[in-house]
C-alpha cells in the first residue's frame, strides 16, 4: 500500500473516532489566509468546494473527503476525487457553478483574479479562503489551516509535522548536479524559489541554478552548457518521450548532459506540485539520483 493511502486510512479512522459531525471545540474557527484575509466559520465546514488540485488533494489527505462537494476539472488526485462534482476551472472560476453546490467554504488558488472572486463569494455569504502553495512549508501551514476549518485539526497537525520534519531533515552532501528544464524555447529552468529545488536538495542533489531566486527563470543556453549539469530533470505526464523532443535540436547538443542523453523524468502526478506526499517524492528522487550517480 502506498504511504499516501495509509495516511488516508489513518485519517478516516481518526474521523470515525471523533464521530461524524462537529468535533469538540465550541465557538468560531478563525484563520488568516495567504491574502491576509481573516476568515471565520461558526462550525467546521460541512460542504467544501476546492478550486485547486493541490487543495483537493490536501482535503482528502486530511480525511475531509466526504465534505468535498465540488472540485475543478483538473483535480485528479486522489482517484476518489473523481466522484466529486466538477465545477469547472479553478484559475478563472465559474461562481454560479460553485454557488450551486451550496458550499459553506470555498478554497481558491491565490491570484489577483481570485481575490475578486473571493470578494464576490463573500457577498453571497460564502466563506472563501485564498491559498497558494509554492513550497512545502506552505503545504504544512495549509494542512493545519484546513484541518481547523474542516474539523480535522489533529490530522492537519499530523500532516504538518510530517512535512516539517521532511523539510527540516539535515541535507545530505550534494551529489548529482541537476538542472531542471521546464521549457526549451526560451530555455527556462527552476530556481531556488521552487519546491522542486527543495526536493532536489532534500534528495541529495544540487540544483545548478540554485543561485536564481525566483521559482523559474529564463536563462541563456550557454549558461546551461557552461554550468554543465550531470543530468537534466524534466517534469512529464505519463507517456512522455525520453529524451524530450527538443533534445534533438542542434543547439541543445552543446549541453553535455543532453548529448549523453542523461535525463531524469519525474512523473507529474507526484512532482507536479508541492503536496503532502513530499516524503514519497523525496524518496523517489533520491532513488533516481542514486541511479544517475552510479555509471
Amino acid at each position: 500500500m502506498r504511504p499516501g493511502n495509509s495516511r488516508f486510512v489513518a485519517g478516516l479512522a481518526l474521523l470515525a473516532a471523533c464521530g461524524t459531525g462537529a468535533p469538540g471545540r465550541p465557538g468560531a474557527l478563525a484563520v488568516t489566509d495567504d491574502a491576509g484575509r481573516r476568515v471565520t466559520l461558526a462550525a467546521p465546514a460541512a460542504r467544501v468546494v476546492s478550486l485547486a488540485p493541490s487543495l483537493t488533494e490536501l482535503l482528502f489527505a486530511l480525511g475531509a473527503g466526504p465534505q468535498v462537494v465540488g472540485r475543478t476539472t483538473w483535480c485528479r488526485y486522489p482517484p476518489a476525487a473523481a466522484a466529486v462534482a466538477d465545477v469547472g476551472d479553478g484559475l478563472n472560476p465559474n461562481l454560479e457553478a460553485v454557488a450551486a453546490r451550496r458550499p459553506d467554504l470555498v478554497l481558491l488558488y491565490h491570484s489577483p483574479l481570485n481575490e475578486t472572486a473571493a470578494a464576490q463569494l463573500a457577498r453571497l455569504g460564502i466563506a472563501a479562503v485564498l491559498l497558494r502553495q509554492d513550497r512545502h512549508a506552505d503545504v504544512a501551514r495549509h494542512a493545519r489551516l484546513l484541518g481547523v476549518l474542516t474539523g480535522h485539526a489533529a490530522a492537519g497537525d499530523s500532516i504538518g509535522r510530517v512535512l516539517d520534519s521532511v523539510v527540516a531533515r539535515p541535507t545530505p552532501p550534494a551529489g548529482v548536479r541537476v538542472a531542471f528544464v521546464v521549457w526549451d524555447a526560451p530555455p527556462t529552468v527552476i530556481g531556488a524559489g521552487s519546491y522542486l529545488d527543495e526536493l532536489v536538495t532534500l534528495a541529495g542533489g544540487a540544483n545548478v541554478f540554485h543561485d536564481l531566486r525566483p521559482a523559474s527563470a529564463t536563462v541563456s543556453l550557454e549558461t546551461i552548457a557552461d554550468r554543465d549539469p550531470g543530468v537534466i530533470a524534466i517534469l512529464a505526464d505519463s507517456g512522455a518521450v525520453v529524451p524530450p523532443v527538443w533534445a534533438r535540436r542542434p543547439e541543445w547538443r552543446a549541453v553535455r548532459a543532453v548529448r549523453a542523453g542523461r535525463f531524469l523524468v519525474l512523473p507529474a502526478d507526484l512532482f507536479g506540485r508541492p503536496s503532502p506526499r513530499a516524503p514519497e517524492a523525496v524518496a523517489e528522487l533520491r532513488r533516481l539520483l542514486a541511479r544517475e550517480a552510479t555509471p
Binding site: 541563456s220 550557454e222 557552461d226
Partner: protein, 313 residues
C-alpha cells in the same frame, strides 16, 4: 563616411556578441571554446541576419504602404505565426522543428489571406485595404490563439507565448544555414524594387507616369517583405521595434532613396539586434531578457539622439 561607421558598428556588434556572454570565457579560449563555437557564434550571426531581414522588410513595407508607421508585424503575420505555434504545441506536431515550421506556415497563411483581401476589383493591391485586412487577420488569429490557450491545459500553451515574445535561443549552425540560404532571394527582390519604391512614395499615379510597373512592384514588395518576416518569426519569434524603427534611423542619415536605404537598413537592423541580444544575455546574467524588450530600450534613445542631431525636416 557613414558607411564606414556603419560597417564598424556592425563588426563591433558581432565581435561583442562573440566575446561577451553569461558564461565567463577567457579571451584566450574564445577560439577553442565549444560554447563560443556552437552557441555564441551562430547566435551572433543569426541575430544579425534576423535583424537585417526585419529592418529591410520594414523599409519595404513602409514604402509600399506609404506609411511611416508600418512595421513587418502590422499585416497580421505575428498573429498567424502565433496561431501556428500554439496549434503545433496543442496538437503535438512535428518534433524539434515543429514549432518553427508551424509558425512559418501560420505567417504565410496570414500573408496569403491579407493579399487576397487586399485585392480590390481588377486585381490591384490597395495599401489602405491591406492595412485594414492585416489588422483584422492579426486580431482574428490572436483571438483564436487565446481561445485555444484558455481552453487547453494551461502550462504548455502559456510557454508558447514565451516563445512568441521573441528570442534567439534556438540559434544553431543548422538554423543559420537554412535562413542564410532562404534570405537572399527576397532581399534581392526588394533591392531590385528600390527605385520603384522611391517612385511609389509620390503616389501610384505619378509613379506610373515615371515608369514604375506599379502593380508588379506592389506584389513583389509585399511578398518579399512578408516572406522575410515569416522566416524571422519562425526562427526567433516576434521581435518588435526593429522593423519599425531602423528604417527611420536609416532615413535620418541616408535619406529616402531606397538604393542606399535598403542596405543601410539591413546593416543597421543587424547591428541593433545583435547588440540587443548581447545585452539580453548579459545584463541580468545568468538570466536572460526577452530580446524584444531590449531592442526597444536600446532603439528609442538612439533614435532620440539621431533625431536631435540630424533632425527631421
Amino acid at each position: 563616411m557613414k558607411w564606414v561607421v556603419l560597417g564598424l558598428a556592425a563588426a563591433g556588434a558581432l565581435g561583442a556578441a562573440v566575446v561577451l556572454g553569461p558564461a565567463a570565457i577567457p579571451f584566450a579560449e574564445l577560439g577553442t571554446s565549444p560554447i563560443v563555437r556552437d552557441l555564441r557564434l551562430p547566435r551572433a550571426l543569426l541575430a544579425f541576419l534576423v535583424g537585417g531581414a526585419l529592418a529591410t522588410a520594414g523599409t519595404g513595407l513602409q514604402g509600399l504602404l506609404r506609411n511611416p508607421l508600418a512595421d513587418p508585424f502590422l499585416l497580421g503575420l505575428s498573429g498567424g505565426a502565433g496561431l501556428g505555434a500554439v496549434l503545433a504545441i496543442a496538437l503535438g506536431w512535428g518534433g524539434p522543428w515543429g514549432l518553427p515550421v508551424a509558425a512559418f506556415a501560420g505567417a504565410v497563411g496570414a500573408m496569403v489571406l491579407v493579399y487576397r483581401l487586399g485585392l480590390v476589383g481588377g486585381g490591384a493591391l490597395d495599401p489602405r485595404t491591406m492595412l485594414l485586412a492585416g489588422v483584422a487577420v492579426g486580431a482574428f488569429a490572436a483571438a483564436v490563439t487565446t481561445a485555444i490557450v484558455s481552453l487547453a491545459e494551461a502550462s504548455q500553451l502559456r510557454n508558447a507565448f514565451l516563445w512568441l515574445w521573441g528570442g534567439l535561443s534556438g540559434a544553431s549552425w543548422q538554423t543559420l544555414a537554412v535562413l542564410a540560404a532562404y534570405v537572399p532571394v527576397p532581399l534581392a527582390v526588394l533591392a531590385a524594387a528600390a527605385r520603384p519604391l522611391d517612385l511609389l512614395a509620390l503616389g501610384e499615379e505619378p509613379a506610373r507616369y515615371l515608369g514604375a510597373d506599379v502593380e508588379r512592384v506592389k506584389r513583389r514588395v509585399y511578398l518579399a517583405a512578408s516572406l522575410l518576416t515569416a522566416a524571422a518569426v519562425a526562427v526567433s519569434g516576434v521581435i518588435g521595434f526593429v522593423g519599425l524603427l531602423v528604417p527611420h534611423l536609416a532615413r535620418l542619415v541616408w535619406g529616402h532613396r531606397h538604393r542606399a536605404l535598403l542596405p543601410a537598413a539591413f546593416l543597421g537592423g543587424g547591428t541593433l539586434l545583435t547588440l540587443a541580444d548581447t545585452l539580453a544575455r548579459t545584463v541580468v546574467a545568468p538570466r536572460e531578457l526577452p530580446v524584444g524588450i531590449v531592442t526597444a530600450l536600446v532603439g528609442v534613445p538612439v533614435f532620440a539622439l539621431l533625431l536631435r542631431r540630424w533632425g527631421a525636416p
